[in-house]
């Protein structure tokens, strides 16, 4: 008799592991991993934003499709509602790209990180310099060279995490959830006026 675990293993092997192994050999993965190895923060943050944009794009498409098929909306208005969904989706995507181009910019990040944490890291370094200079000839303690190596790694790592986080927050919280709703409102009003005018013209022709 075939055991359940055997079936599970075969399913995981053929259903998940094999496709993953095939994906691992693709050029796209080679390109992405190369950028990750090179610590290309712009690319890494960009991929994060791209991922959200793709999901928003697909979400927008699904909403538009739903609107066009939603029988609760009067037939003559469905296109209008769908158009509004499209505007909203477009605004979300463009605002996130804008946020990525500004906040994720290397120079902006450098300034932002320096302003927010420059002194904090300077003070941290000073603290250790004092400690290291106070304790000499103790082989169990950190040497100046060891400290500098570890500190660079520590600061660089923090900077990368900060860049990734701020890029995501700017795009997905600030741009998408704060700015877009405000821009979308007056735009939607204009779209409504345009649609009303179009509808009234059609009514006159019908009469």
């Amino acid at each position: 008799m075939i055991s359940v675990s055997k079936i599970m293993n075969t399913t995981v092997n053929y259903g998940l592991k094999k496709p993953l192994k095939t994906l691992a050999k693709m050029n796209l993965i080679k390109k992405v991993t190369k950028e990750y190895r090179g610590n290309n923060i712009k690319f890494i943050a960009g991929l994060g934003i791209f991922s959200i944009i793709l999901k928003d794009g697909l979400g927008c498409y699904l909403y538009v499709k739903q609107s066009l098929a939603n029988k609760k909306i009067p037939e003559d208005k469905r296109k209008f509602v769908a158009a509004l969904d499209l505007t909203n989706g477009g605004l979300m995507i463009s605002s996130q790209i804008l946020a990525f181009l500004t906040v994720s910019n290397e120079k902006v990040q450098e300034k932002l990180f320096g302003k927010l944490f420059g002194k904090t890291f300077d003070n941290l370094a000073k603290k250790f310099y004092v400690k290291i200079n106070a304790v000499k000839n103790d082989t169990t303690k950190m040497t100046l060279q060891e400290f500098e190596e570890c500190f660079k790694k520590f600061k660089g790592g923090t900077k990368n995490i900060f860049a990734f986080l701020t890029s995501l927050v700017a795009a997905t919280i600030l741009a998408k959830r704060v700015i877009v709703p405000f821009i979308a409102t007056p735009l939607a009003d204009k779209a409504k006026v345009w649609m009303d005018k179009k509808d009234s013209k059609t009514d006159k022709v019908d009469k």
Partner: protein, 333 residues
């Protein structure tokens, strides 16, 4: 699972004494000092660094959910530019947290098992080639899991200590392979998995670049050694050359550290793409689930709002208001 995969075997055992203690000390010192610096850092820095653990698609899902679930409702409810009534705005606002919870549960619920599966494949050495394989230097948690399985009577502290020792042995085995056999990789079930000649040369270049950044005072001397790479000089010979420039710098040690770092970064990048594919494929399901769940949720917990919404004769106005206020839609029932 095969415990041999975390055992210390091969020719490295014979070279344990002198080199083992040297590399072990170096590695443990680095880890200790990294912890010392992190412990002295202000809380805000420690908080930011906690997010470094989150890799791949998971942070995208989480931050997006925070925006949708916590920020968006506020700006929908109190959007002074909106012409829709307060109840309609509340109705739309409440949809956001439901949408965020569904996204975390459905997208996160699928992405996390994928992450775990991929990580296991890396530790077991199931990928073809070396790029995603951690077999040479496995994760502490994975080693702990195997030790626990093989020795169920050991205490947690004992398992942790043993796992650290095993991981250290793995590192030193890799360094010894590099120094003695000019080999970067690992041996799994008798099969050698190693970097090709060109990949090894690229790794040597990357290691030198890192060393130049670490030691700007001797960067020029390090750079001048680069031409030796194309000549096909061995790792051991390179170590000797670097040793003449800087006594504290061990090239083989730095090279293996760089290789381990590269594998970790490869996995990060790969997971980001897999997470994206998985999230995209679940999106139509989560959209449909939201459309099904939300009216029922409102009927159950906010019947007054739900009724008003249904009774509203000006349907278009409501739909418009919903749409103005973010990615919300009139829900079909």
């Amino acid at each position: 699972m095969n415990v041999e995969r975390v055992s210390f075997k091969g020719n490295a055992a014979g070279t344990m004494s002198g080199e083992f203690s040297y590399y072990a000390k170096k590695f443990l010192r680095e880890k200790k000092f990294e912890k010392e610096i992190a412990a002295e850092a202000p809380k805000i820095i420690q908080f930011i660094r906690k997010f470094g653990v989150l890799t791949g698609e998971v942070p995208n899902i989480l931050i997006n959910a925070i925006g949708t679930g916590l920020v968006a409702p506020f700006f929908i409810k109190y959007n002074f530019l909106s012409k829709s009534d307060s109840d309609t705005r509340t109705y739309s606002a409440l949809r956001q947290p439901v949408s965020a919870i569904l996204a975390v549960l459905m997208q996160g619920g699928l992405v996390l098992p994928f992450d775990r599966l991929m990580n296991n494949m890396s530790n077991k050495g199931e990928w073809d080639g070396h790029a995603f394989n951690k077999t040479g230097f496995q994760d502490l948690k994975y080693i702990e899991k195997i030790i626990k399985k093989q020795n169920p009577n050991l205490t947690k502290a004992e398992i942790k200590e043993l796992a650290k020792a095993k991981q250290l042995e793995q590192l030193i085995t890799m360094i010894n392979h590099a120094n003695n056999n000019n080999f970067v990789g690992y041996i799994l079930d008798g099969k050698k998995v190693k970097l090709s000649k060109n990949q090894l040369k690229a790794l040597m270049r990357e290691t030198l670049d890192d060393l130049s950044k670490k030691h700007p005072d001797i960067a020029k001397n390090i750079e001048s050694l680069k031409h030796n790479i194309s000549k096909g000089i061995s790792i051991k010979e390179f170590s000797q050359k670097i040793g003449k420039i800087s006594k504290e710098t061990d090239f083989a040690y730095e090279l293996i550290q760089k290789h381990i770092e590269n594998v970790a970064k490869n996995i990060k990048g790969f997971r980001a793409i897999v997470g994206l594919v998985v999230s995209l494929s679940i999106l139509p399901v989560s959209c449909a689930a939201l459309n099904w769940l939300y009216p029922r949720f409102m009927d159950k917990f906010f019947p007054s709002l739900s009724k008003k919404k249904k009774d509203n004769t000006n349907l278009l106005k409501n739909i418009q208001a919903d749409t103005f206020n973010g990615k919300t839609k009139e829900v079909s029932q």
